[in-house]
Every structure is written in C-alpha cells, then in structure tokens.
C-alpha cells in the first residue's frame, strides 16, 4: 500500500530523513513514535507530498508520489490527513468543512456529499453539530470533525500527526475511541502519537524514529516488553514515568 525506498529528505543542509525503507500493507495500523525533531511529521507529510523528497522513491497504491506525471489531486484524495492543530476551516460550518473537498475535488453532487457527511458526523459522535462553526466546538469535537473530513474523501489510507497532543486530557479518549473503531474496521493507518495505550490496543507495528531514521520496528508487545535499541529503552522509560 505504502512503500518507501531509500527515502532521503533535507531541509536546506539539515538531513531529516535518512535512507528510510518501509512497506505498509493494506489494513495495517502503524504507530510512529520518537523524540521531538526526529522526523516523524516529515515522514508522513512526504506520503501525500506536502513535503517533497530529494532522493529515493515513495509509492502509494501504485502511484509514484514524486514523479511529475503523477496526478497529485488523485493521490491526495486517497489519503486522509489529520493534523495536530485540526486545521479546520474557521469560516465554514462543520458540514461545509466536511463536504468542501468531495464537492470541489471529487465532483460529488452536493446532496450526496451532505448525506454522506451527516453519516460520518454521526459515526464520529457529533451529528448535532453540523451547522455550528469550528469556534463553537471543543478541541475534541474539532478533531473528530477533522477525522470526518478525512473520511469524506473515502480514502484508502488515513495519516494522523499527533492527533491528541493539542487536546485537554479529558478529550483525548473521545478522539482515540473514534480512531480505534476506524482501525478495527480495517482502515490502513499511520499514526504519529505517544499514546502508548492506543499502540498496544490496535497497532500492528510500532516504529521508533530517532534523528531521521527508523531505528526500531516491531509488534507492540515486543516493542514495549523487549525493546532492542538503547534509544528506544531510554525513550520508553521517559514516556512511562511521564504517564
């Protein structure tokens, strides 16, 4: 589904992704963790070409992301992206936020798009907020709208960049619940997060990134019980004392 071959990326002279190789299968749920600045966000932002790469190859559902002939619009409409800061459109209602891209990009008729959006809002647990503006919602509700907005494009993959780290503790669960359900329904997901409970519950694999490299990749059980890498152990002990 998603393949990285020797991917390298620089910001100016800063080498942020170093020879990344990975292969993510359809239906797989992968959690990415690691210290701040290690390149986690950059890794997933390269998948939908929010960031270009300088060397290597990324293939998503058979499409070469960085090839000129690739239809970026089509690529992006197969990938849902959920941001840490939600990035909802503040001038549009919740419903309009969800239907904008299906209508403008996928040319879905408005009626159909709205009906689908209402179904999705129900699925993420906020069917009654369709006509509110984002400023009238709590952080947890905003993030669930953002997930609905991602799902509205009917994507094959959902990418999450620290979806709960801007939220107050009491709202984290409501968002994670939606994500767990999504994982159980078989969505292919890459989730950058430090929510280790989520990783244990639904992840098929956990990646640990450090300084632009994936230094450990394992099943959650192995990863938490038996971390092989020194840096992973150090990192886990920090997270666990924090929790």
């Amino acid at each position: 589904m998603i393949i990285f071959k020797n991917v390298n990326k620089w910001f100016g002279s800063l080498h942020v992704l170093k020879d990344i190789n990975l292969h993510i299968h359809p239906g797989e749920v992968v959690v990415v963790c690691g210290p701040s600045g290690s390149g986690k966000s950059t890794l997933i932002r390269c998948i939908n070409q929010l960031e270009p790469i300088q060397k290597g190859e990324i293939i998503v559902d058979g499409m070469e992301v960085n090839k000129r002939s690739t239809n970026l619009t089509k690529l992006r409409s197969e990938i849902g992206f959920v941001f840490q800061q939600f990035n909802l459109y503040p001038h549009l209602t919740v419903l309009e936020n969800v239907v904008l891209s299906p209508i403008k990009v996928k040319k879905v008729p408005r009626k159909e798009a709205e009906a689908n959006a209402l179904r999705l809002l129900e699925r993420v647990g906020i069917p009654d907020k369709a006509n509110d503006y984002p400023s009238q919602l709590s952080g947890g509700q905003c993030q669930r709208v953002a997930i609905a907005r991602g799902l509205a494009m009917n994507p094959k993959v959902m990418l999450f960049d620290e979806p709960t780290s801007a939220l107050d503790p009491e709202m984290i669960k409501e968002v994670l619940d939606v994500m767990v359900e999504l994982a159980r329904e078989g969505m292919t997901m890459i989730v950058v997060t430090h929510e280790m409970g989520f990783a244990r519950q639904v992840a098929d694999r956990v990646f640990f990134m450090d300084a632009g490299q994936i230094v450990e990749s394992n099943t959650p059980d192995e990863f938490f019980e038996n971390p092989r890498n020194e840096r992973t152990r150090e990192f886990l002990s920090k997270i666990i004392t924090h929790n």
Binding site: N48, L50, L72, T73, R76, S77, I79, F81, F83, Q85, N87, L88, Y89, P90, H91, L92, T93, E96, L100, S101, K104, V105, K106, Y133, R149, M153
Partner: protein, 222 residues
C-alpha cells in the same frame, strides 16, 4: 458671517451637485470593482510560484505605489492617445483609478493572506484543492474578512481620489463645486457642499462595510 453664506444659491445648484454626486458614485463604484479584481489577481500573481508572473506583478505594484496618481492620470489622458488608444475622459479616469487602487489593494490582500495560518493552506492542499480552489474557497474568504477595515480605507481613498478626474473635465462632485465657485464667485458655498456630500458617501461606505463584515464572518465561502 453666516448671513453671507448663500443657501439659496446652493439650492439653485443642487441639480448640478446631484449630477456630480451620481457621477462620483458610479465612477468610484466601477473603479472599486475593477480595482478589487486587479488587486486580487496581482496579489495572486505575486504570491504564485511563476518567477516571471511574480516579477510583472511586483513591477506593477511598485511603480504605481511610487508615483503620484495625478501623474498616472495625465499619463493615461495625454499619453494613451499618442499610442493610438482612444478612451474618453470617463474611461480614462476609471482606468487610472482602478489601476492605482488595484496596486494598493494587492498589498492589502497580501497582508491578509500572509496572516492566515499556514495550516489552512496545508489542510486545503492535503485535501486535494488546487491553487485556485485553495484561494477561492479557503484563503480569500478568510483574508478578505480580516482585511475589511483596510479595504474600506482604500475605498474611501478612491472616492476622494476620484475628485482628480475633475482635472480632465469629467463632471463629478468636485467639478460641480468648481463650477459653482467660478460662475457665482462662491467658493465657500461650493466646496462646503462638495465636502458635505463626500462625508455622506463616507458614512454610507462605513455602514456597508460593517454590514459586509458581519455577513462575511459567518458566511460560507462561496
């Protein structure tokens, strides 16, 4: 002093003033429309990736902003006919006003766009909207919202600047005042009336902008 102030003559000249007022309104209105269009396009070009287009927009904006409007007006009025472009006085006036304000509006809109958090562009990009769609549905509605006070200021400047077209003998508000002043030797009455009408336009614009702002804040983007 007031007994020398001739309200009677102002009354006599009222039809002329009203004609002038009407001309000022529609000339300004059309100019504002084109200025907005030009400003948004110039701003779009300036923020685009194309080097050449960026440069063109930059030159346009800078050369307008660094020269007096009167010089621009004379350039079009006296210069265009020698280049075999024949516009009448009103068209020349609208051209000069729209191009002039367009450059300022381009900068105002740019400031508004730059103030939109980068996350908005990222979200719109990630969800497949192309450059024009991002501008139209996500960036501009928000940018116009935050720039309304500055845009209103520019509209008011344009209305006042439209008085310069009296110099190429277009009959608008200021010209009406000039006519009264010179025919009746009553500059105080003539230009006082002119000022009062500009004030009236100012209040109407201010009212409109408040109304527009309230609508835009909670309006969908299309």
């Amino acid at each position: 002093m007031l007994e020398h102030f001739s309200f009677r003559v102002i009354g006599q000249y009222m039809p002329l003033f009203l004609r002038g007022l009407w001309a000022t309104c529609w000339i300004s209105g059309i100019s504002i429309f084109f200025a907005l269009l030009i400003g948004i396009i110039a701003c779009g070009l300036r923020l685009s990736k194309g080097r050449f287009l960026k440069k063109i927009a930059g030159i346009y904006i800078e050369s307008i902003r660094s020269t007096p409007l009167l010089a621009q007006l004379y350039f079009f009025y006296f210069g265009l006919p020698t280049l075999h472009v024949n516009l009448n006085e009103v068209q020349t006036g609208i051209l000069a006003l729209a191009l002039n304000s367009g450059a300022y509006i381009a900068e105002i809109v740019r400031a508004g766009i730059v103030s939109i958090p980068s996350g908005q562009v990222e979200a719109a990009t990630a969800y497949g909207l192309n450059y024009l769609q991002r501008m139209r549905y996500v960036i501009l509605p928000q940018a116009l919202g935050v720039t309304i006070p500055a845009l209103l200021g520019q509209f008011i400047v344009l209305v006042k600047d439209s008085s310069l077209v009296s110099l190429i003998s277009v009959l608008e508000l200021t010209r009406a005042g000039q006519l009264m002043a010179s025919e009746r030797f009553m500059p105080a009455e003539g230009f006082f009336t002119v000022a009062a009408f500009y004030l009236l336009i100012y209040y109407i614009l201010k009212y409109l902008s408040n109304w527009w702002q309230n609508r835009l804040i909670y309006m969908e983007g299309h």
